[in-house]
């Protein structure tokens, strides 16, 4: 029985115990097996062939796709294996746009790293790069097909973590490529900008959009006051770009570096996270009292918000109307700073430093005349700017945030972790801390989840039914469960990225879960080190309410709250069904998108067409099937001329059609 869990790696006895595959066993034995397409959090794909090993009696096999068996005899780096790995890399490099010197991924590129490690010194094959123009259509991400090595990591991340599938393989053989549907731009399809594709990409085929130059330009402009805000998750990750351990809290060094770069004031997004807690908890209390729009769903994560807007129009009233902390702080800065500094509002530039790519889209979609946030830089971009300025980050003496928006409680800090928003709201519900006496503040039961966790927590005699979710695929399964079983929740927190914002795509490149866990631990430590842990204890939050938000009617509402709208998944698509030849035609559009289709829009469309045929009206109408009127709540949606019909029936549609045709004729 002794030999049950024993196999032999390069002749040395190694035990295994429940590992997913041979690759994991070998890595545990301290042998680094090269891979492109293997991520422990994603399904096994077996495409890159770099992880192959020699198994006695079975030959060369990809270790990611083989289960460990007792007695296996494995060789990991024979000449044959080394040669094959090198050839695989050479072939990939022959297809690759090798402009490494000007590539932003250069220092963290897995292709470059493995080529160096495995000793690829020349490429014997003819270069076959096609020079395809990169896709800049997204606000958050840039796709450069010339850098793609077809490992499929991005395809699986989008499908398996987010359940979206915005990109996939297309074509076959030597023509195969990863692209959105119909090779449209990422900005024109259902992509929610979470950037998890970029996080797992071994090369620069998908990267967060870089906006350093635009921010440099603002910093160079003497008329502008450039203000920064830093999200919680940035401080525990930026060190990774400067050989500092992940999880170390570097808020002081970041502040110092930003001041050296020319930022006038540096604030903490954790302050506005406290503000979010205040508003969101009040909202929860109101909804519970009124028993309306429950469960309340968090709205801090812009990828989740876009996802809900595209796929769950029926839940948009459940989303908290609170802006995200980033937008709240931007709005508060632009409201208060012009007066206190006696400068024009348009001369204030708010730059937020975020672990997130979707925040770029969130700031961009704000269509007010003065945007709450002008630029969003990822942790990676801030690291690049610090390097561009030649600042020795690791040696910097820490500096403190500026007041008052640099002062936060621990509740605002843990926002960067999955479960953090929930815990912060629960802490609020416990009530204010009296005379420095700290009642229980930690809710460890909402921490460390595997993507989906349902918890019931009793506070002051009330039971709060909450769910904490990360990964939009998990959100989808939770919502399906709610629909099917009618299970009741009071509060649901959703974050798109694994582990929450600490695992965001704007963070320094890392391919392992451990780094992410260290970052999460860093945030909980930062919480512990602060004196205050509940948002309502923050004296500067109280001051802000007294001096600004509670003054003037609806001030808090205008500055801190937002609205949501149904959003089309794919822009600019419709099917022309009847095209009238008459001089004057009436446009009839019938929505056949998911929500309206379920409500019977196809049936109405068929009946309308039959009616038009019977009455011989085909010359005076243009009938089209469209995919979304962005009015899914009131489906089926039909528009006839300028009139939009909600909850349409065939009778309503035909009556309106006749009336509109009459109007049109009378005009002629």
């Amino acid at each position: 029985m002794e030999t049950k869990n024993i196999l032999y790696i390069n002749g040395r006895e190694t035990s295994f115990n429940g590992e997913r595959n041979l690759l994991e066993v070998i890595r545990k034995a301290n042998i680094e097996i090269p891979t492109f397409c293997y991520h422990s959090e994603l399904s096994v794909y077996g495409a890159c062939r770099l992880c192959l090993v020699d198994i006695e009696g079975r030959g060369l096999l990809s270790s990611c796709s083989v289960k460990p068996e007792a007695g296996m005899k494995i060789q990991t780096h024979t000449k044959e294996i080394r040669d094959i790995r090198k050839i695989s890399l050479e072939l990939l490099l022959a297809n690759h746009d090798r402009s490494c010197t000007s590539c932003p991924k250069s220092s963290s590129c897995k292709l470059q790293e493995l080529s160096n490690k495995l000793g690829v010194s020349e490429i014997r094959y003819k270069s076959t790069t096609k020079n395809i123009p990169p896709d800049y259509s997204s606000e958050a991400l840039v796709r450069d097909p010339n850098k793609c090595i077809l490992c499929g990591d991005c395809v699986r991340a989008c499908e398996e973590i987010q359940g979206i599938g915005a990109i996939d393989f297309a074509y076959r053989g030597s023509d195969v490529a990863v692209m959105p549907a119909f090779n449209k731009g990422l900005g024109k399809v259902e992509c929610v900008d979470c950037g998890q594709c970029a996080r797992v990409c071994p090369t620069n085929a998908i990267m967060p959009k870089i906006q350093n130059d635009e921010v440099w330009k603002e910093l160079d402009n003497k008329e502008k006051i450039v203000v920064a805000q830093i999200a919680p998750a940035v401080r525990v990750a930026i060190g990774e770009m400067f050989n500092i351990n992940s999880g170390e809290i570097l808020a002081g060094q970041i502040t110092a570096a930003l001041k050296m770069l020319g930022f006038k004031y540096v604030y903490d997004t954790s302050f506005s996270a406290d503000l979010t807690v205040m508003e969101e908890a009040k909202e929860l209390k109101t909804r519970l009292t009124e028993n309306k729009n429950l469960p309340l769903m968090s709205s801090c994560c812009p990828a989740w918000v876009k996802y809900a807007e595209q796929y769950y129009p029926e839940y948009l009233n459940n989303l908290s109307t609170c802006k995200s902390p980033q937008q709240m702080l931007g709005a508060v800065i632009k409201e208060t700073l012009p007066e206190s500094l006696n400068i024009k509002k348009e001369n204030i530039v708010v730059v937020s430093i975020m672990p997130c790519t979707a925040k770029k889209f969130e700031a961009f979609k704000d269509d007010k005349k003065t945007k709450d946030v002008d630029y969003v830089l990822t942790t990676q971009e801030l690291g690049m700017m610090i390097k561009q300025a030649g600042i020795d980050f690791a040696s910097l003496f820490p500096e403190s945030f500026d007041m008052p928006y640099g002062f936060k409680t621990g509740a605002g800090i843990i926002f960067g972790n999955s479960g953090g928003v929930t815990e912060a709201v629960l802490r609020y519900l416990q009530g204010e801390t009296n005379n420095g006496y700290n009642s229980k503040v930690d809710f460890k039961e909402v921490r460390d989840n595997d993507g989906i966790k349902e918890i019931e927590i009793g506070i002051n005699g009330n039971v709060h039914r909450t769910a904490v979710v990360y990964g939009l695929k998990n959100a989808k399964s939770l919502l399906s469960k709610i629909k099917e079983s009618g299970k009741k929740f009071d509060f649901i927190e959703v974050m798109a990225c694994p582990g929450g914002c600490v695992g965001g795509a704007g963070q320094p490149v890392c391919f392992d879960d451990e780094t992410r866990k260290r970052r999460a631990k860093g945030l909980y430590e930062a919480d512990k080190m602060l004196q205050l842990h509940k948002s309502q204890d923050n004296p500067y939050i109280k001051e802000l309410y007294e001096n600004v938000l509670d003054k003037g009617e609806h001030k808090a509402h205008i500055l801190l709250h937002t609205e949501y709208k149904n959003r089309k998944r794919i822009l600019e698509e419709e099917i022309s069904l009847i095209k009238g030849n008459g001089d004057e035609t009436l446009d009839v559009n019938v929505c056949v998108g998911t929500s309206c289709y379920l409500k019977g829009s196809q049936d109405i469309l068929h009946k309308m067409i039959n009616y038009i045929g019977e009455k011989g009206l085909s010359d005076c109408v243009n009938v089209k099937a469209t995919f979304c009127f962005e009015n899914c709540d009131n489906g089926p949606g039909i528009s006839i001329g300028s009139e939009k019909l909600s909850k349409c029936t065939i009778k309503k549609a035909i009556d309106t059609l006749e009336r509109k045709l009459e109007e049109m004729k009378s005009k002629i």
């Binding site: 076959r172 549907a181 794919i570 998911t594």
Partner: protein
């Protein structure tokens, strides 16, 4: 509803029928695409998106399947699809001369393989499994054995004649 104006509306109804027949099952994507292509003679982008939404698949996945199989066309094809076999047997029996003759006659190329009047599309296939009668050309469903450049020109002439008669009778 035989009116020409209702052609698209009729096709769209057919797409709904086809999906209903397959119970809107994502597993039936390929047969659905095959049947839809028979209606339109190709797979229009907006119809593929409609199918994706109806089957609860991502449009990128449907596009991936539609581009993987050479049977599926994303650009409109002609009324007559001329498939010239260029497999080993046909190739050694000068199938390339037939291909050249068609290209010259119809003014088409590999990239632009459909005639401007949408009557013909030229395709080459790897093997039709009819090597005994090589070189082989298949026009829609009709097999033409032992082809020569002269014979293919005659076949094209005949199609033009049929089309003219149809046009006149309409």
């Amino acid at each position: 509803m035989s009116d020409k104006q209702f052609l698209n509306a009729r096709k769209f109804s057919k797409v709904c029928e086809i999906m209903e027949k397959h119970s809107y099952s994502a597993n039936k994507l390929i047969p659905i695409l095959q049947e839809v292509q028979e209606e339109y003679r190709y797979l229009p982008e907006e119809v593929l998106i409609f199918i994706a939404i109806s089957l609860d698949l991502s449009p990128a996945r449907v596009y991936g399947v539609a581009t993987f199989y050479s049977h599926f066309a994303l650009k409109p094809k002609g009324k007559y699809i001329i498939r010239v076999c260029d497999g080993t047997a046909c190739h050694v029996k000068n199938s390339h001369k037939i291909i050249d003759a068609i290209k010259k006659r119809l003014n088409v190329t590999e990239e632009k393989n459909t005639t401007a009047d949408m009557l013909f599309t030229l395709e080459t296939v790897s093997c039709l499994g009819a090597c005994g009668i090589a070189p082989v050309v298949v026009i829609n469903e009709t097999v033409h054995p032992l082809m020569t450049p002269e014979k293919i020109n005659t076949a094209i002439d005949q199609i033009y004649e049929t089309e003219e008669v149809n046009e006149l009778s309409n």
